[in-house]
């Protein structure tokens, strides 16, 4: 899971320019999360980690921190490896 954090952090750093985002910091609490950012985040994760985010994964709980996103990626990859 740790190895997933760096690319996620780098991606998010483009949006939170003047703020060093902590692994457990709630991005929804930091500022306004607009639709375009949300979509770009989902597309980035799908492409970066070659996974498909299903409708049921699209819960804000899965996206609210770097840790949560990395956890989601980990779970999806394990699932993928099993099938």
């Amino acid at each position: 899971m740790e190895k997933h954090k760096l690319p996620i952090k780098t991606f998010l750093a483009k949006f939170f320019v003047n703020h060093e985002l902590q692994d457990n910091e709630d991005i929804f609490a930091l500022g306004f999360v607009n639709s375009l950012f949300a979509m770009q985040l989902v597309l980035f994760i799908e492409q970066e980690f070659s996974i498909a985010i299903e409708n049921e994964d699209l819960d804000f709980e899965n996206f609210k921190t770097i840790n949560a996103i990395a956890g989601l990626v980990e779970r999806k990859q394990v699932l993928l490896a099993r099938t």
């Binding site: 949006f15 939170f16 320019v17 003047n18 929804f28 500022g31 306004f32 999360v33 607009n34 639709s35 375009l36 950012f37 949300a38 979509m39 989902v42 409708n55 049921e56 699209l58 819960d59 804000f60 996206f63």
Partner: protein, 355 residues
């Protein structure tokens, strides 16, 4: 050979197909002759009238021409047509690449593009790589204005202003490219005013136009007739909200619409849409947040209908990230519900006005 005659097109066309942008070749299409080879070129007879008429219908124009950019732009300026063309692609690349660039820049789908050229090779290449594009042979322009796809049923104040609104967008984009700082800081420099109001009789044409033109940022794709919309604005069980946006560069016009069905204990968002032109302005979620706050004040539950098409995933994500959970699927319609426990505050970079 692929048929490129306009006369074959009307019956093949989907009745609902609407062209939003016409992409012109230059040599022997817009003008007679070849700019870099002939001593002089002259406009073809009808093109000024075609361009102006379509422009007044709210249809945009662009260019895909293999030519020298500076010489061609100079010529267009001399002919008094330069201001009509958005994102002109004058280069030595394939027309397929040029058309894709235009679609991306204007943020419309290839289905909403018509391409006019005199060279069968170009028409065939575009027709092969982008079958969604309506390809028209430059020698068959007589019926262009009569094609159903070139005749939007609704022409509103917003459609007539469309080109100017895109030109304002160009200025904003340039300012954004040169801006150093976060996106939020840039948005703050725009001094945006977002206005939400109950739709009035005079908004209904635009409301209908929005339901017809918007695919990407549209939660259900429902369209309503004029009579239905008139009913909604009078009905105490419905809220028809229309949103507009302006900033220091000018107005974006009426760009958002929501229909909420209000029952005693539960409100249902039947439709929520935003024009794609405001996608990068970070205002898409504001209308939803406004409805969420309103529901909370009225102490009712809030649910939303969602019908997926292959382009509106962003709206699904918008609901989910706003805390909605999918509770059931009825046919192709998903029902999403929220407990209204967490509602995002409105962003600092927009001044919100409601009536």
């Amino acid at each position: 050979m692929i048929s490129i005659d306009t006369k074959n097109l009307p019956e093949k066309q989907d009745k609902k197909k609407q062209i939003k942008c016409v992409v012109w070749d230059l040599d022997n299409t817009l003008w007679n002759g070849i700019l870099l080879e002939d001593n002089s070129v002259s406009l073809r007879n009808q093109v000024v009238d075609l361009i102006q008429t379509l422009d007044s219908r709210g249809i945009l124009h662009s260019i895909a021409s293999r030519n020298d950019y500076d010489r061609a732009m100079e010529k267009l300026e001399e002919l008094g047509l330069k201001e009509y063309f958005l994102y002109p692609q004058i280069n030595w690349n394939s027309k397929v690449a040029s058309i894709n660039n235009i679609a991306k820049s204007i943020n419309i789908s290839l289905e909403a593009i018509a391409f006019i050229d005199d060279q069968p090779f170009e028409l065939e290449e575009v027709g092969f790589s982008c079958p969604e594009v309506l390809c028209i042979n430059a020698f068959n322009l007589d019926q262009l204005l009569d094609l159903p796809a070139m005749n939007p049923r609704l022409i509103t104040a917003d459609s007539k202003m469309r080109r100017l609104m895109y030109i304002n967008d160009l200025e904003r984009d340039r300012a954004e490219e040169n801006f150093i700082g976060s996106q939020e800081e840039f948005l703050a420099t725009l001094k945006m005013n977002f206005t939400i109001s109950s739709a009035q009789e005079e908004d209904l044409q635009r409301a209908e136009e929005l339901t017809v033109r918007t695919n990407q940022l549209n939660t259900t794709g429902y369209t309503y007739s004029d009579d239905e919309l008139k009913y909604f604005i009078r009905s105490p069980q419905h809220k028809l909200l229309i949103a507009s946006l302006d900033d220091k560069y000018g107005s974006y016009g009426k760009i958002g619409l929501a229909l909420v069905e209000c029952q005693e204990k539960i409100w249902t968002i039947k439709l929520l849409l935003m024009s794609c032109r405001v996608m990068s302005r970070g205002v898409g979620t504001i209308l939803l947040n406004y409805i969420m706050n309103l529901a909370k004040t009225h102490n009712v539950c809030l649910q939303a209908e969602f019908i997926a098409n292959n382009r509106n995933r962003m709206m699904y994500i918008t609901y989910k990230f706003a805390g909605f959970k999918e509770t059931e699927q009825i046919g192709n319609t998903a029902i999403l519900k929220t407990q209204l426990t967490r509602i995002q505050a409105f962003p600092d970079y927009v001044n919100l006005q409601t009536y």
